[in-house]
């Protein structure tokens, strides 16, 4: 098989992923579950965390950005496949000449784009309404992009169980996302958490993205910056590979 035809095929699959991204933007970005679990959820969490506590607004901005990124980037994945199964569009999609991997990559890109874009809102609000300031803009940008990719992969992994009921997957996704949120040092610094939580913190991808964002705002990161990018890359790779495997296993279930 020639390198040129391999290149053409790869281009076709990449193009397919971008078409899936476009479809998801048109269909799912404004779906109520995405807006509730991806946008309203972090706002209410922030209010619950901030109100009545004597914390300077500047201190909460990195956590707010990380939390918004966490919920928004991982909100698209759990919705798309179950929704497609329930709407009976999944079978037609997987019979197109786009590989399952490219379809899932398109779903990851959808979460990535949504998370990255929506995270700009708390960044701007933080700059306008608080005295928080960014000391390292490239680090913030790359931290948000890397985190968005990882969290979007988590979202796609969470959509693997074969159900035609999107609410089941949204429930499962919150069962996974909420505990990981609490052990990641977003609300309470990792060093102030119980010992067990400190041990679990490295297992959460949010801990690393949160560290990068903290460092970009000049706060002390929980994990060294040099470690955070490889860890996020590792999480992304493992979770995407696992989603491909599980989606392949459950490909035709519940059609």
């Amino acid at each position: 098989m020639s390198a040129q035809s391999d290149g053409n095929r790869l281009r076709r699959q990449l193009h397919g992923s971008l078409v899936i991204l476009k479809k998801n933007v048109l269909l799912y970005y404004l779906k109520p579950p995405v807006l509730i679990f991806g946008v309203l959820f972090p706002v209410f969490f922030f209010l619950a965390f901030k109100m009545g506590r004597n914390i300077s607004p500047a201190a909460v901005v990195p956590g707010m950005v990380a939390m918004a990124l966490w919920f928004t980037a991982s909100a698209i994945g759990p919705l798309v496949t179950p929704w497609e199964r329930s709407a009976k569009t999944w079978e037609r999609l997987i019979s197109t000449p786009i590989s399952l991997r490219a379809i899932l990559a398109g779903d990851v890109l959808s979460g990535f784009a949504f998370g990255s874009a929506v995270s700009i809102i708390p960044v701007i609000l933080g700059l306008l309404l608080t005295d928080a300031h960014i000391v390292n803009l490239p680090l913030l940008a790359f931290g948000i992009l890397a985190g968005a990719l990882t969290f979007a992969s988590l979202g796609v992994l969470l959509s693997s169980p074969p159900t035609a009921s999107p609410s089941n997957i949204m429930l499962l996704s919150n069962l996974v996302r909420l505990p990981l949120l609490f052990v990641s040092g977003i609300f309470v610094p990792i060093e102030q958490m119980p010992a067990w939580a400190g041990w679990v913190a490295p297992l959460s991808p949010l801990s690393y993205a949160g560290s990068l964002i903290r460092a970009a705002y000049g706060a002390v990161p929980y994990f060294p910056v040099w470690l955070c990018f490889p860890m996020l890359f590792l999480f992304t790779t493992v979770m995407f590979a696992a989603s491909c495997r599980f989606h392949r296993m459950y490909r035709a279930k519940g059609l």
Binding site: G16, V19, A87, E91, T96, P97, L255
Partner: protein
């Protein structure tokens, strides 16, 4: 069983294709070929394995064993290449209800990598042909079932397939939509499109299919042209006779040589026989002997529905 398609270059070639779900064997080692330009009907009762076969051939599920190729590409080893040649209108699938008719069409064409100019031109032509052009900007959820099915067909055809899989395409549709879909499929077939169609509608299958396969309990029990299949089921052939004013005694009719059984309904007698010509002659002789008069005398081949019932459990054995 002679597979005429074997003489031509097959577009679909299936060898020992099997699908098991746990202890259940949904499709049990089927073999067949579909030649270029055929409309191949795949008939069977509910649960016989039709949809499972379509899903295997279209890459939705992986077969447990056996092999199949589409345009020479193995459905397992070259799944994506084999899918490049096909388009599918699945039985229960739907269009994207929150997208407009036009967006649905363009999305499918983009997934198949159809260049922009071509997909716009073809999209408009197909919407016109299927009576949907005036609904181009409507959301798909606003369409009736029949119009949604027409849109599904448009979305499949805009991808410029060489093989079109239709799983129960006219099931539950209004007469106009069903007729229009059949018309378009027949016209496209005349232009060289190969069509693989599963249907419960025997009249439809008899009218449009060049060959049909009947699948029962996961196995193909018959495969040939509708005409040949009708001839093969000899016990289902009959002579239909109506007498003017008075009919002969039933025993006389039933005891005619080579009559297997007889049915009568409001003066219409059906004499089932493997030799309809001979029985018709004997009937004419009997009528003269009894000084009666014939009003109608016809020899009938079984319908495709009779053939289907014969092979799938209602017709006894030959």
């Amino acid at each position: 069983m002679i597979d005429k398609a074997a003489e031509m270059k097959p577009v679909i070639r299936v060898n020992g294709l099997t699908m098991r779900f746990g202890d259940l064997t949904a499709v049990d080692g089927i073999d067949f070929q579909v030649a270029r330009g055929e409309i191949f009907g795949f008939l069977g009762p509910n649960g016989a394995g039709k949809t499972t076969t379509v899903r295997m051939l279209t890459g939705v599920i992986e077969p447990t064993s056996g092999s199949a190729t589409i345009q020479g590409h193995d459905i397992r080893k070259e799944s994506i290449l084999s899918r490049e040649h096909i388009a599918v209108v699945p039985e229960q699938a739907n269009v994207y209800l929150d997208l407009s008719v036009w967006r649905n069409l363009m999305l499918m064409a983009e997934l198949y990598g159809i260049p922009r100019n071509r997909r716009v031109r073809e999209g408009e032509r197909l919407l016109e042909a299927l009576g949907l052009l005036h609904r181009k900007d409507s959301k798909a959820r606003e369409l009736s079932k029949g119009l949604k099915q027409r849109l599904m067909l448009c979305a499949a055809l805009v991808t410029e397939p060489e093989v079109l899989f239709l799983d129960e395409p006219t099931s539950g549709l209004d007469v106009q939509s069903a007729r229009l879909i059949r018309k378009i499929v027949t016209e496209l077939n005349a232009d060289g499109l190969t069509v693989f169609i599963t249907t419960h509608n025997m009249v439809e299958a008899g009218d449009i299919c060049s060959r049909v396969a009947i699948i029962n309990k996961g196995q193909i029990v018959a495969i040939d042209t509708p005409g040949n299949l009708r001839s093969m089921v000899r016990k289902r052939q009959y002579v239909e006779v109506v007498f003017r004013e008075q009919a002969p005694p039933h025993e006389k009719l039933e005891s005619l040589p080579r009559v297997n059984r007889m049915e009568s309904d409001h003066g219409v007698f059906r004499l089932y026989t493997e030799a309809p010509g001979s029985v018709a002659t004997l009937l004419a002789v009997l009528t003269v002997e009894l000084e009666l008069e014939l009003e109608q005398l016809n020899t009938r081949k079984p319908s495709l529905e009779d053939v289907f019932l014969y092979y799938t459990g209602d017709g006894g054995s030959e």
